[in-house]
């Protein structure tokens, strides 16, 4: 298994897409705080002291995390589908015993790179917010830092899960382009549209169990704010349901790879 993991990492590092995909969330993580902080400071006098840094931190990290999830999933989809697209899967299977090890190595690699994206972006986002908010009273208490750490940790979990979902989708479809398009459509607006339709049909409970929604329930659920009591899916239900989605997509991808004829 170690050999397969090393081989998978070599495959990824031998290409450029892994760092290209990481650029967008890092840039957003770096600059969202810088952009939102001046805007928030303009209303700080009305709302109260410390508001600006708190809001900019929340918005900056939330935006950065949203992009991390998207690009982690895209990474997984590319990593999973590219071998079929470029017809290298046959060579991969011919040099290893069985297909299970290959799939497992791909999933572990995807999760690892999803985590890597998240860690790098979180560090960039937090450092930027702290730098631009220097002098503010902001999130300086132990409780605030605890909640921030909880958000960042949960974000890492979600990034890994989204990378796995993307990888599962790539292996399931065997198409990089199709998987990337599907993820790029679903995450920013596709799920929102489906959710609105479901609510319109009176199936709002199902809409709450869609993966993007569950991701935000998972993250917001670790923050100690009164509104969390109104969340449709709370801890630990939200992360468990998200893990369920990951297992479903991952299992489908695994099954497809095991059963498909490689032409």
């Amino acid at each position: 298994m170690t050999a397969l993991l090393n081989a998978e990492v070599r495959k990824v590092l031998g290409l450029r897409y892994w760092w290209i995909l990481g650029i967008a969330p890092v840039v957003v993580g770096l600059f969202t705080g810088a952009l939102t902080l001046p805007l928030a400071r303009q209303v700080e006098d009305i709302v109260g002291e410390g508001f600006a840094s708190t809001v900019s931190a929340a918005i900056g990290i939330a935006l950065a995390l949203a992009l991390v999830f998207l690009f982690a999933a895209v990474f997984g989809a590319v990593n999973g589908g590219t071998e079929f697209q470029h017809r290298t899967m046959a060579t991969t299977f011919l040099t290893t015993r069985g297909r299970d090890g290959v799939v497992a190595a791909k999933y572990v690699t995807a999760a690892a790179f999803g985590l890597l994206y998240c860690v790098v972006v979180e560090i960039a986002a937090v450092l930027t917010v702290l730098m631009f908010a220097s002098g503010d009273s902001g999130p300086s208490s132990g409780s605030d830092f605890g909640q921030l750490a909880a958000v960042l940790t949960t974000g890492m979990l979600c990034a890994a899960l989204w990378a796995l979902m993307g990888s599962g989708l790539g292996l399931l479809t065997g198409s990089t382009v199709g998987s990337v398009l599907a993820i790029s459509a679903w995450v920013p607006f596709g799920e929102l549209i489906v959710s609105l339709i479901l609510h319109g049909l009176g199936l709002g409970a199902i809409a709450d169990l869609l993966p993007v929604q569950l991701t935000w329930y998972t993250i917001v659920g670790v923050i100690d704010i009164p509104e969390t009591g109104d969340m449709a899916v709370r801890w630990p239900g939200a992360p468990l349901a998200l893990i369920g989605w990951t297992l479903l997509v991952g299992a489908l991808g695994w099954w497809r790879v095991r059963s498909r004829d490689v032409g």
Partner: protein, 394 residues
């Protein structure tokens, strides 16, 4: 050159050499369309076996089933007595070249090979050695997307050789290779087999493998039509001498007395003799006072034998039809409409008859003979001419 594989076949633990490759009743059906039907053959260890058949005859599907990439509908394929997927380290037992596209276009050749070295737990130095072996050492750091088809074929072969396997399974490896590359590949595979390796190489052109293959497996429409050693196939379709003489029966008796028993009187009265050269026949005829009016040596083209065995899957219309107004009156397919000629318009007589593009397996009426009962349908019997263009040549 050193042995291309780490472990010679006779170095196996246990008794005897490895059993080679055995395909037993392999069948693959895609949505009720049979691609391969009950195919069985063996590849003896230490041999080069040519796996021949026209495009679409099921060669690639068979090889992919052999290598565990395609799940058979029925049957089994064994390597060293076990399915490929049960081999502990398949990449070190079998090297396969199935597709020249098997490398990521953005990877360099060296990176590509290092990936699979890592997967197979082979030292990374083997990547460079394999590239040097196939003549790609100078382009190791170039991206594979910049490679020509021939270079990609060589890279695929380098990948197959990484684990220094005992078996090589190659699916039409000559595709994209120039004549020099093909000669190199032939020499390489012969060297590999001499070192004890076993090669199964597919092609749709007999000539590509005829010179190097010890054994031939010929398939058509997903079924086996012929399996033998190349020498046996050549012996079965030896040249024959057509003798026009004053007394064919007497000459045949004289030949039989001399141990040349394969002599048959043809419909045109000539004696067809297999296994004797014209000089020997002339000497025997002179002894028996039989006058020889002429001899005609017919050589069998094995490619034509192969075409005769495998024809019929995609029957093309005869000839090429020029677009344009239809010719008056019925025109046989494949023939241009008759050109009206004045009595004074005489073309000179051609020194050679015009080439007729004839469906392989169809015989001119004057050569029609009943098929031998032991041959598969459509396959000419041994010593029977594989009728068609080039079947027998002067």
């Amino acid at each position: 050159m050193t042995a291309p594989f780490a472990q010679a076949p006779d170095a196996f633990p246990g008794s005897g050499p490895p059993p080679g490759i055995a395909v037993q009743g392999l069948t693959k059906t895609y949505r009720n369309i049979p691609a391969v039907s009950n195919l069985s053959f063996t590849v003896p260890p230490g041999s080069i076996t040519g796996f021949l058949g026209p495009n679409g005859s099921g060669k690639t599907t068979t090889l992919r089933m052999l290598l565990g990439l395609v799940r058979p509908t029925a049957g089994i394929a064994l390597i060293d007595g076990v399915p490929y997927t049960s081999l502990p380290q398949p990449g070190r037992v079998v090297g396969a070249v199935l597709d020249a596209q098997g490398a990521h276009p953005k990877h360099t050749a060296l990176t590509h090979l290092e990936v699979y070295c890592t997967a197979m737990r082979v030292p990374l130095s083997q990547a460079r050695a394999s590239l040097d072996l196939v003549g790609l050492g100078s382009v190791a750091t170039r991206r594979t997307g910049e490679f020509s088809l021939g270079m990609r074929q060589r890279l695929a072969l380098a990948t197959a050789l990484l684990g220094q396997p005992r078996y090589l399974v190659l699916d039409e490896p000559a595709n994209g290779l120039d004549p020099e590359g093909m000669a190199w590949l032939r020499e390489f595979l012969q060297s590999y087999a001499r070192s004890g390796g076993t090669v199964l190489v597919s092609s749709h052109i007999l000539r590509e493998v005829e010179q190097m293959a010890d054994h031939l497996v010929i398939v058509s429409n997903g079924t086996l039509v012929h399996q033998s050693s190349t020498a046996d196939l050549r012996n079965a379709y030896r040249s024959r001498v057509l003798v026009a003489c004053s007394d064919p029966a007497r000459l045949a008796a004289a030949l039989a007395a001399a141990g040349i028993t394969d002599a048959q009187i043809q419909g045109d009265g000539r004696l067809a003799v297999v296994g004797a050269d014209p000089e020997r026949i002339a000497a025997l005829a002179a002894e028996q006072k039989v006058t020889i009016f002429g001899t005609h040596v017919e050589h069998v083209d094995l490619e034509q034998v192969f075409l005769s065995m495998t024809s019929g899957r995609y029957a093309a219309s005869h000839g090429y039809h020029q677009p344009g107004p239809p010719a008056p009156g019925p025109v046989p397919p494949g023939y241009a409409p008759p050109v009206p000629q004045s009595p004074h318009h005489q073309h000179p007589q051609h020194p050679y008859p015009p080439q007729q593009y004839q469906q392989a397996g169809q015989a001119p009426p004057q050569y029609q003979e009943p098929p031998a009962p032991q041959s598969p349908p459509g396959v000419p019997a041994p010593h029977q001419p594989p009728f068609g263009p080039g079947g027998f040549q002067r």
